[in-house]
Amino acid sequence: MRQLKIALVLLLIGGVLTTAAFVMAFTTAEMQRFGTVTVPEPIDTAFPLQQVTEAGYTYERPWFSQKIFYFHVPVAEASFLVFAVAAFFSIRFLMKRRKEFDTKARLAMETAIVFVMLTMITGILWTRAAWGVWWEWEPRLTTYFIMTLMMIGYFVLRNSIEDEERRATYGAVFGIIAFINAPISFFITRLIPSSHPVVFQSGFATSNLIPFILGQIGMLMVGYAIYAIRASEERLEERVDVLKDALEG
């Protein structure tokens, strides 16, 4: 019950922080620029005029779709971290063979997959807005997609095994192997050429950093809250089973 209360408080604070990040992203955060826009007539704009040619007046283009970043990146990083928690409990299960670690790994994986799906959806919408396509087989997107498939595979594998002990062992091994994808996907944009933007590579204005950090902390709180609420649900289910057994026995 205490964990559930903490989860609810964190969910509330997380909601407030991410909402604050959302408001700041659209009001106080400095507008990022990407590419140029050419118009036939000069316009009254705060964006710097780059050049005047026969084609028209070229201005730096505001990068509105970058606003997705303030939620897309926190959700993506939360997905990596919760996935790391799942891998940690999988290792703990293989070391100690205790059911609680398998349950914790499964719940963390379930929470991670929620965040992975949200990362994919927000990412796809950003890709469409920024690159003009819904999908591109570039390194970050491809490795993240493989990671997503492996996480889905984790649940497919678990559901295909009836024996509890074997299911937990195979799930733990598969979860650890699947996690290898996380650091690969995270670092790949820094290691090989990729069209996916790299956060912090070119510095950050304070007005952009604050909503980003608030969004990040808020999303991690929401992530932990979801995990803890699911853990409370799991404990109640176990209690129901114990009580049913006791009544039937």
Binding site: M31, R33, W63, F64, F71, V114, L118, A129, I226
Partner: protein, 63 residues
């Protein structure tokens, strides 16, 4: 709160991106709220089930 002048320009110049940005935020929040709401519903149902079962268990134990 002072609005950044670039932000003021943004709303005039790049409405093209707006549906995707709005879509991303809306889907994110709606999905998270729906998921949390679903888990809470299950949690409430389980709490009721536990209290009913505990009552039956106590009654049986008392006999």
């Amino acid at each position: 709160m002072n609005l950044d002048p670039m932000n003021m320009e943004l709303y005039r110049l790049v409405l093209h991106d707006a549906p995707y940005v709005i879509g991303a935020y809306a889907i994110l929040w709606l999905a998270l709220m729906a998921y949390v709401g679903l888990v809470f519903r299950r949690l409430m149902r389980l709490e009721k089930e536990v209290s009913v079962l505990e009552e039956s268990f106590e009654r049986r134990g008392g006999r």
